[in-house]
Symmetry: C2
C-alpha cells in the first residue's frame, strides 16, 4: 500500500517510525511546508504531487488546523484515496462533509487518532455499536489539563506553577488556551458523540468551560470533601435527543476516573448489554498517536475498517444536569440574577463566595460564566 | 448465519437475548442436558444433531468444564464449523489443539468471552499485536475476588462475612474455590499470555496464590501504608523468555487498578509504541459475556476475525520479581528455611509474624506456601 503523509511533525514522525518496520506499507510522498526541510527524496512542497499520484492509495493528514486541511482531505477523498487523519479540529468542524465525500468515492475516512491518542477509542465505540446503542459516554480527553489537575491535587500546587512545569516538560503549549479552556476536549467530544450516536454533532452547540480559573483553595476544599476535579467531556442520548457538554466535574476520590494520573486519558461508554466499558492510555504523543493512525491504515488495508454512517437524526436537548460548585470572586457583582433560583447553600472561601447549587443544567451555569467572561469564576459539576 | 448453542445457562441465555434482535443470525439448534427442559423446537439432547447439521456454520460452546467440552469443540471444528467459546478452563488446557484444528479445517476458533467478560480484551490484545510486541500484561480478572477485596477494604469487614454477602448476591458460588484460590484467574492468565506472546502457555506452569487467607488485620495494615490489595494475573515477556503468575499484589491506593470497584475487571497491556493501555468493564454476567460471544460471531461473519498464531517458541523463565508481605500464623513452624535469605524486616501483627522480604521471585514464596498448604499464611507482592 502506497501512503502519503501530509505534515512531518510529531505525529507523522511517529507514523514514519512505526511504518518503517512494516514493509507492506510504503511511504511514497511526504508533504512539508518549509523548503529548508526537503531532506528526503519523497518530500514535496506541492500537494498536487500527491493528489495526482494515482499510485497513492491512502493519505495521512496531520497538519492541523481547518485550512488547508479541509481542502486537502476533500481533494484526497475525491481523488479516491482513503484518508486517515489526526486533526480533531477539522473533523469536528466538517465530519459530515468528509463522510459524505468518502462514501461517494468508495473510500474510507478514518479518524481514530483524533480522540484519545493511542487509546483504541473510536474503533471500540464503533464495535460496541454493532450490538448496543451507546447511550452515554464521558472521558478525560486532554492530557495537559489532566496533568495540571493531577499535580494540583497530588502536590498542592497553584495553577500557574503547575502550568509552567507542564510547559517546561512539553505537556503544554506556549499558548495553552486550547487545552485548558476545553476547546480541544470539545472537538473530541463532538467527534465521539457523532460516532457513538450516528449523527453529526454540531461542535459549536456544545457548551464548554475549562480549568483556567481553578485555584488551590478550590482543590483544598474538594480534598476535604473527598472529591477530585477532572475536566470531562460528557455526551448522552435519550431516544431521539442528545446532549453534550465539556466542563470540570467533581468525582469521589476512590473512582477510577479520579485516579487517572499525569497526562493520561480515559474514555468511558455505556451500552445496554455490555454495560460500562472504560479505556485508558496515552492521549497524545508521536508514537501513541502514530500507532492509532497505523491501526487505521491496517484496518483500511485489510478490509476491516468500519464505515461511519450518520443515519440518525437527533435533536440537541437539555438532558445533562447536576449540582454545581461555583466560586465567585469578590469583584463579580449582579450574579444573583443567575443563581437565586438554583442556590442550595452558600459559604465563603477566602475572599470569594461559593455557591452549591441544586440540580440544574449546564446552560444555566454557562449563562453566569458567559456574562462574566472577564472574571475568574470557577464552576464544576458534582457527579 | 446459522448458529448452534451448546448449553443454555446464563451465558448462552445472554447470547440468545442479544441475537434475537439481529435477524441475520439464526439460532438453529440448542444442546441441553436435561430432558425436562426441552421447551423449544430447536432444542436437542444429542450433540450429533448439531455436528451433522451441514447448515450450521458456527457453534457457541458455554457448557464449561473440560469434558465433553473439548470433544464437542474438536468435533465442531473438524466438521468445519467455526467455534466461539466462553469456557476458560478448556481453552487454557487445550488452546494449541483447538487452534491447530481450526487452522487445519479453515475455520475460526474464537475465545473473547473466556477472559474479561464484556471487556474487549482479546480483540484489543490481538489488535495491538499487529503493530507492537506486547511485553507485559496484568489484570484484575475475577469479579468475585475483587468484590471481596473491595468490600474488605471499603467497609473494614472480615473475609468470611464478605464472602457470605457475595454468595447471597450471586457474585460467588456455593463452592467459591475457583474464584478465591486463583484457578479462574490462572486460566485467563494463560489464555491472555498465549494470545499476547504468540505461544501457548502451559497453565499448570503458572504459579498461583489466592485470597482465601487474607484477614482484616492484613487489610488494616495495608491501609495504614496507603496500599490496596488486589488479585492480579501478571505475564511478561523478555526476548525468548516469558513468565506468568497469579497472586495478590499491593498497589498504591491512588492507582487506577486499586480503585476498580465491586465485581468489575480491568486488563492492562504494555506495547512499545502504544504505551500502557487499560480496559475496564464487567468481567462476568450473561449479557456482558453474551456480548463478547456475539462480537466474536460478528467478526467471524464479517471476515474481520483475527487468526491465532502460535509461531513463537518461548521458554518459561523467572522474570517476575518483587518484595513480598508474608503473614505467618503462630502455628507455622520451620518457615525460616524459606525466609532467612530473603527477609528484609519482620514485625508482629496480633499473634502472627509478618515478614517483608527483599526482592525475590514468586517461586521462592510459593515454596513456603506449598510447604504449609494446610496453614493460613497470606502473601502478597508489592508493586
Amino acid at each position: 500500500m502506497n501512503i502519503a503523509l501530509l505534515g512531518f511533525g510529531v505525529v507523522c514522525g511517529g507514523v514514519y517510525d512505526i511504518l518503517k518496520n512494516m514493509p507492506e506499507y510504503n511511504i511514497k510522498k511526504i508533504l512539508i511546508r518549509n523548503p529548508a526541510k526537503l531532506t528526503m527524496d519523497c518530500m514535496t512542497l506541492d500537494f498536487s504531487d500527491i493528489e495526482n499520484d494515482s499510485e497513492i492509495d491512502l493519505v495521512v493528514e496531520a497538519i492541523g488546523g481547518l485550512h488547508p486541511a479541509r481542502e486537502y482531505i476533500l481533494a484526497a477523498l475525491n481523488a479516491k484515496k482513503h484518508v486517515v487523519t489526526a486533526n480533531k479540529a477539522v473533523v469536528a468542524a466538517y465530519f459530515e462533509e468528509f463522510v459524505t465525500a468518502a462514501t461517494n468515492n468508495g473510500v474510507k475516512f478514518m479518524m481514530e487518532a483524533t480522540s484519545g491518542g493511542g487509546i483504541p477509542w473510536i474503533k471500540n465505540l464503533q464495535r460496541v455499536g454493532r450490538i448496543d446503542k451507546v447511550t452515554r459516554l464521558h472521558g478525560i480527553m486532554n492530557g495537559t489539563s489532566n496533568f495540571i489537575l493531577s499535580a494540583m491535587t497530588d502536590e498542592g500546587k497553584d495553577f500557574v506553577d503547575v502550568l509552567k512545569t507542564a510547559q517546561e516538560l512539553g505537556y503544554a503549549e506556549a499558548d495553552p488556551s486550547a487545552d485548558i479552556d476545553g476547546d480541544d476536549v470539545r472537538n473530541k467530544c463532538a467527534i465521539s458523540a457523532s460516532v457513538a450516536f450516528g449523527c453529526p454533532a454540531d461542535v459549536n452547540s456544545i457548551l464548554k468551560a475549562g480549568i483556567r480559573h481553578i485555584s488551590k483553595a478550590d482543590i483544598d476544599w474538594f480534598r476535604e470533601q473527598g472529591l477530585v476535579c477532572k475536566l470531562f467531556a460528557t455526551a448522552v442520548r435519550d431516544g431521539e435527543n442528545f446532549d453534550a457538554v465539556v466542563e470540570p466535574v467533581l468525582l469521589g476520590c476512590n473512582t477510577v476516573e479520579a485516579n487517572v494520573p499525569k497526562n493520561y486519558n480515559i474514555t468511558c461508554l455505556y451500552g445496554d448489554t455490555i454495560g460500562e466499558v472504560k479505556l485508558y492510555g496515552q492521549g497524545a504523543g508521536g508514537l501513541p498517536t502514530g500507532n492509532a493512525i497505523v491501526q487505521d491504515i491496517i484496518d483500511v488495508n485489510t478490509g476491516s475498517a468500519f464505515d461511519i454512517s450518520f443515519d440518525s437524526k437527533l435533536n440537541k436537548a437539555e438532558i445533562i444536569s447536576g449540582r454545581y460548585y461555583i466560586r465567585i470572586p469578590a469583584d463579580v457583582t449582579g450574579y444573583a440574577v443567575y443563581t437565586d433560583g438554583i442556590c442550595e447553600k452558600t459559604f465563603t472561601l477566602g475572599n470569594d463566595t461559593v455557591i452549591i447549587t441544586k440540580e440544574t443544567t449546564p446552560a444555566e451555569i454557562h449563562k453566569l460564566l458567559d456574562a462574566n467572561s472577564s472574571k475568574t469564576i470557577f464552576a464544576a459539576r458534582f457527579i
